[in-house]
Symmetry: C2
Subunit: 426 residues, 2 copies
Amino acid sequence: MNIKEEVRKMKKVSPRVAALPLETRDRALALIKEELNARQEEIFAENSKDLTEAEKNGVAPAVMKRLKFNEAKLADVSKGIDQLISLPDPLGKVTINRELDEGLLLRRVTCPIGVIGVVFEARPDALVQISTLCIKSGNCAILKGGRETTYTNRILFSIIYACLLEAGYPENCMLQAEQHNEIDELLQCDGLVDLLIPRGSNSFVQYIMNNTRIPVMGHADGICHIYVDSEADQEEALRIIADAKTQYTAACNAVETLLVDRSIAAEFLPKLSAMLQKEGIALRGTKEVTDLIGGETIGDDGFIEYLALIVSVKLVSSLEEAVDHINRFGSHHTDCIITESDEKAEEFMELVDSAGVYRNCSTRFADGFRYGFGAEVGISTGKIHARGPVGLEGLVTYKYKLYGHGQIVGDYASGKSEFHFKDIEI
Amino acid sequence: MNIKEEVRKMKKVSPRVAALPLETRDRALALIKEELNARQEEIFAENSKDLTEAEKNGVAPAVMKRLKFNEAKLADVSKGIDQLISLPDPLGKVTINRELDEGLLLRRVTCPIGVIGVVFEARPDALVQISTLCIKSGNCAILKGGRETTYTNRILFSIIYACLLEAGYPENCMLQAEQHNEIDELLQCDGLVDLLIPRGSNSFVQYIMNNTRIPVMGHADGICHIYVDSEADQEEALRIIADAKTQYTAACNAVETLLVDRSIAAEFLPKLSAMLQKEGIALRGTKEVTDLIGGETIGDDGFIEYLALIVSVKLVSSLEEAVDHINRFGSHHTDCIITESDEKAEEFMELVDSAGVYRNCSTRFADGFRYGFGAEVGISTGKIHARGPVGLEGLVTYKYKLYGHGQIVGDYASGKSEFHFKDIEI
């Protein structure tokens, strides 16, 4: 398949797709849900092929769980589609409605971004989630999933695409890429693809970011922090740290670094050490930490993303020092303060330059579903366009519509006419 | 000056600058206006040095006009600062206020982007406009203006920076780069600079976009179209085209290509030809156009940005063909339809994939001041983050603040707790 040629066709139909009414988009979603359920046995059979292949290749059990597409996963994606259908239309929202002068009306209206490329890990439910988010938001999409779920992806995509055509979508409205080398072709499609959303390992996302001129939304690493302030409820801190590290260790929102106020170190660190041992979490710390409670000693370059049952620990003398450490060594993903002081919490949440700034709860809450967005296409650690979990709102942009009756700028430059800027309620 | 070192210091103070209250930001703006006016003689004297230098170098009169900073320009920037002070605070707006569960409150709050690098043309008033927009929006900024206004930029910046310190800003909150090679150093500051806004020639902006990993907002070319539909008021069309081409020919929002419905060509083209001749505008057209009214014949690759008194003309058979031409050859800046048909206007404005889609008015209206934004830092033809003229709103992002009381994700995964997602009015 010549990706650029296919994407060019998609670019051409994308304005038509963008103009499809809500009813058509929702009808496509309803059809997809129906067909996925009607053809579940076929889907599960294809999924078995992927699983057999994966077993042969000695894929780890944790990954096997992600590859599986069964009744439970089908029920989850069906629920997700229902939720999407029930959400209000993200398109056509008038966010500015301003009379610039008599008979000269400016409207800013939300519209789809256009053509979005999503490269994601081997998780069949992700394919459904991402494609349906793109459908609801009026976008065309090129989807490239992990090769470990090739058979499952293929049948899921063919069902989704057939439903789109049945609902009245034009051909080339959605595309599946299957070959790994097609990713590189996709990266060359600047001017045709409006946005790339890569998901996956740090090095993979970094590769995408470094090798394309297309805007990229996503995150490479997730180095999340928990700062235990001197006024923390220490038992609560221990519970939150355990959850943030162990509830899903491989997630980008798992905690990687603990910062502990020096004034409570002698009291808190032994309790922390006991909890870490109980949970099977290894400790790496600065010298003053390991002198107190053991573990491997690390320097300034040791505050990395583990995605494993390991945590870094460092002492700080003040909230300011904690903030500076997080802003310098963190990845601007999600960072939390544990404190009973309202004042310190506000200062921390104001000064930490991250997509998520939390007080007294687990960093694992950083997720589109848990924020009530229905689903997410990914989490952004960039500050441009969308930040944090990206749902429907992150997949739209806007355009300015200006309605005139022959107005020219010359008349305003000469003073013959004058703007009066009246915002008009809709 | 070691730019990276300076920018690193700026990055460190940027959260403090972001947290400054509206009163401090507005006070800084008021001081700047006061000082610029109090020290106008000094400023004009420095500007004279630039003008003398420019004259020696044989700078064109049109450019000389832009280099000049006199009473009229000072009055304009003073008015701009007053307007900025009167605008509501773009920061701290709560755009989501949602109880995820009892005692677990999610807030999405607008905040500054952080550190912004702006590289702009030789126009002293631009330096004041850009820096004051960054101040109101809580951002730190690195400013690099054109070298033809070195003396003027230097005194303007030193006044602005002194006012910031007097208002209570920390050192390193704003920086002026003077050397051209410092632009390349700036491009290497990914991780420290959050956004680059280049203004200037097509090739310069393209160079910036191709040589940095920092997100870039702006536009390279501005190939704007006017489509004269079969149901156009032809006299109105001529007036609008004349304005869009001649009112400021070198601007990115000047029209470059006219598309004319074939069914009215025989009637409209002679009138167009007469108007173009009267206005001194040269015509380049496809063969069927030049066969009818003369001019240089061009092919598919001839639809370029002139920034001069030249316009391309092509006939199309339908609105669809016009839309396809614009989406393929345009630069997604600003495009206009001239028609008396409401239906066709809506279809055009829906399907054209540009930041500005206009009906019956000049493309020259695409401008932050004319949209009522007070001012603009630039115009974006990208679809990510901000589109069209970029004012205060384009200089902010948001963060998610999550307030808990010890909540952990494990309790929600196990079913012990459940989200209830209640949006709460503020």
